[in-house]
């Protein structure tokens, strides 16, 4: 079995920390060569059969360099195909593990089904659709592989502030789903969604924390170098304390993430909560980082703004903090009420 730190070392060698936002197409090739596309694919399906720890380690390193290659949607797409029951499953898995790209969309789909069974509407948040052969889409009739060359299928790029990522709308106009490419039916879609959601949250959380770590490193380095009033600004206690708080937020969010990665019984809301905390820590770290960089942080010359923009994007992917914090509160409240009722029943019984 591959050790976690071997994976991390290999990732750091392939994607060195000083080469931020590495070229997308080169990165994609490298990612495929390293076998990362099949890290989570079970051995019986030709994959490496590694667990959440391995993918978390990889996504952390990809976050650290502000990866431009769409590994997260690719991994999720592959997992969806792996869980699906299409006839050509083995062939698809082989092609996808080898570098063909069929991402899962990361934003809601607003689709309508016609009487004739065709589908129209917009599927949001498809990463790098320009390099995809198909997209895994949640259609009204279930999850399906939608080939991009099928009739009624077009893609529209929608530029985002995080210029290291490319987001597309997949526009369906009377698209007739191919039965052979249906991964689930309507009933099975919810189950697949529930299986994929924690994977998406863990990957995004790792992406957040890898990037937050890099943003903190850049900031601390800048604070030691930048001099004002005859000393490095790292020596000003008020600024130093802010850096300490950034580190604290980051390390605590990392601890929660890894504890949930390793907890097989963590609920999907608990995993989403770890992503929320990670994304909020990333946001906090980058907001402070901009301020601590002073003027240079407001220019495109310095890379720190790219971390902030990624933080703001990651915050919104797969549900906002407002949404998940409320859900966490609601579930904790229900669990607490249940425990109290049980205790009362036990006491009176």
């Amino acid at each position: 079995m591959i050790e976690l730190n071997e994976l991390t070392d290999a990732a750091q060698k392939a994607f060195p920390a000083d080469a931020l936002s590495p070229d997308r197409d080169d990165s994609w090739k490298l990612v495929a060569e390293m076998g990362w596309l099949m890290v989570r694919l079970p051995e019986e399906d030709g994959g490496l059969g590694l667990g959440r720890e391995a993918s978390t380690a990889i996504h952390t390193e990809m976050g650290r360099v502000l990866a431009t290659a769409p590994l997260i949607p690719a991994q999720l797409g592959l997992q969806a195909v792996q869980a699906g029951a299409i006839a050509e499953r083995a062939e698809w898995l082989e092609r996808l593990a080898g570098g063909e790209y069929a991402p899962l969309h990361l934003l809601p789909a607003r689709l309508e089904r016609s009487a004739g069974g065709t589908v129209s509407g917009t599927v949001g948040g498809v990463f790098d659709a320009d390099m995809a052969s198909a997209v895994v889409v949640r259609l009204p009739m279930g999850y399906a592989l939608v080939p991009l060359d099928a009739p009624g299928v077009t893609i529209v790029e929608r530029p985002i502030w995080d210029s290291g990522r490319r987001l597309f709308d997949l526009v369906l106009d009377g698209y007739a789903p191919e039965p052979a490419l249906m991964l689930t039916d309507a009933d099975g879609a919810a189950a697949l969604h529930d299986a994929l959601a924690p994977e998406a949250h863990l990957a995004l959380a790792a992406d957040c924390l890898g990037a937050a770590g890099a943003a903190l490193d850049l900031t601390v380095e800048y604070m030691k170098m930048r001099r004002q009033f005859d000393r490095p600004i790292a020596m000003f206690q008020a600024l130093k304390h802010r850096a300490a708080d950034m580190k604290t937020r980051l390390v605590v969010a990392e601890a929660l993430l890894w504890s949930r990665v390793r907890d097989a019984e963590a609920t999907s809301t608990q995993i989403a909560a770890a992503k929320t905390l990670a994304a909020e820590a990333f946001q906090f770290v980058t907001e402070e980082a901009i301020q601590l960089h002073g003027g240079i942080g407001l220019t495109e010359e310095h890379p720190i703004h790219r971390f902030m923009k990624r933080a703001m994007l990651n915050l919104q992917l797969c549900g906002s903090p407002d949404h998940w914090n409320e859900r966490t509160g609601r579930e904790a409240l229900a669990a607490s009420a249940k425990a109290a009722a049980n205790a009362a029943a036990k006491a009176s019984g």
Binding site: W161, Q228, Q291
Partner: protein
């Protein structure tokens, strides 16, 4: 303070002017730097003509000679009518004016002030890559050299964060003429023509897509000694006059504009159907009160100035509370807007309401970093208002 009859009359006049002349649709007409500059020039010319562009100048100039109370009325009305802020001419009418009026020779004054009203614009060459909060650390070097037509300073160095220098005709320039003694003592103040050989300007690409600032590179630029303001080595005092020229009107104006812009947050809440969620209304209400309070403190600051009872540090309180409220405003918009705001949208230059909350959020940092960072203001508040000790002067590593 309540308006006196005179102020009431002025307010009526300004409102009548604005009802007739306030530009409509200027946001859409300011989507490129060029269009923005054209809009700005046009609106400045209209205000000059109407007599509302330079209320703080002496009465000798048409539209000048206004009291601070009158200036406040004019700016309040400009803000409430949601007119474009006068960004392109700001350095000219405030910083250049104050410098020329208070510190320059009669000859310099008479030459340059009238041209400002005709549309000549100035920029400020103060900050340098190594001298931000610590402005006195500037290194741009000026050597005095004899030339047949008269002595000149030969200037070499680099300036940064120069607001709209790419469109400027003239520059207020701080240079170092000596490296001996305290660092403030070797600074000299010059007036530079931006078309002088050796001057090159490179706009700074900002993270929200704007290019509000520029770098100025100075390569053996020759500036006649006659363009010096004050004595050689006494430029630091002149720079203080430049920096003190803006008397709180801007933050009052901006606070009122932010209050007006709360309607954008309200529209977002309605558009997203957040009305029934108590958390959202609570957070919106908290913001409304925060913004109202910033308007109140900005107002009070000017009233105290008018009454001559301003205290040390008051300006820092206004700046920090404004910048924090602006950050909170942008963050609430960003949060309520959700994923929509992550898509790039065309922005309006020079407006706190650019049309995209991400851009507004990034713009808000200009207020916590530039013009004396939030941290520098905290030092001022602690030391000048609370009389807390400064760090020891002899603190050397």
């Amino acid at each position: 303070m309540t308006d006196t009859p005179d102020l009431e009359a002025l307010r009526r006049d300004v409102r009548a002017f604005l009802a007739a002349e306030a530009p409509a649709g200027w946001r859409d007409a300011s989507r490129t730097q060029e269009d923005f500059v054209a809009t700005q020039r046009d609106w400045f010319a209209k205000l000059v003509k109407a007599g509302y562009a330079i209320p703080h100048w002496p009465a000798a100039f048409p539209g000048g000679g206004r009291t601070l109370a009158e200036q406040k009325v004019i700016y309040e009305e400009l803000a409430k009518a949601d007119t474009p802020r006068l960004l392109l001419s700001f350095v000219s009418t405030y910083h250049a004016f104050a410098t020329l009026h208070e510190c320059a020779s009669a000859e310099q004054r008479d030459r340059y002030l009238p041209r400002i009203l005709e549309g000549e614009t100035w920029c400020q060459g103060f900050s340098e890559p190594g001298a931000g909060s610590d402005l006195a650390a500037i290194k741009t070097k000026a050597e005095r050299v004899s030339r047949p037509g008269g002595d000149v300073y030969v200037v070499n160095g680099q300036k940064v964060w120069s607001t709209m220098a790419q469109f400027a005709d003239k520059c207020l320039l701080l240079v170092r003429t000596s490296s001996d003694g305290p660092k403030q003592a070797g600074i000299t103040y010059l007036l530079m023509d931006m078309k002088t050989p050796g001057v090159s300007v490179r706009p700074i690409h900002q993270i929200q897509g704007d290019e509000e600032f520029a770098e100025i590179f100075l390569d053996n630029v020759e500036i006649p000694v006659s363009e010096r303001v004050g004595e050689e080595g006494k430029g630091w005092a002149v720079a203080q006059a430049t920096l003190a020229s803006e008397r709180g009107l801007t933050l009052m104006e901006l606070s009122y504009r932010m209050r007006g812009a709360l309607a954008r947050v309200a529209a977002l809440i309605q558009a997203h159907g957040h009305e029934d969620e108590r958390g959202v209304l609570r957070d919106f209400g908290t913001l409304v009160t925060q913004v109202d309070a910033v308007c109140a403190i900005a107002d009070q600051f000017l009233d105290n100035r008018i009454r001559g009872i301003e205290r040390m540090g008051d300006a820092s309180i206004v700046k920090n509370s404004y910048s924090r409220a602006l950050r909170a405003y942008a963050k609430l918009g960003l949060r309520l807007g959700g994923m929509d705001e992550q898509y790039v949208a065309p922005i309006t230059f020079g407006d706190l309401n650019t049309g995209n909350w991400m851009a507004d959020f990034m713009n808000s940092y200009a207020w916590t970093i530039a013009g004396g960072s939030e941290e520098v203001q905290r030092n001022i508040i602690a030391e000048r208002m609370l009389d807390m000790p400064r760090e020891p002067k002899g603190w050397v590593l």
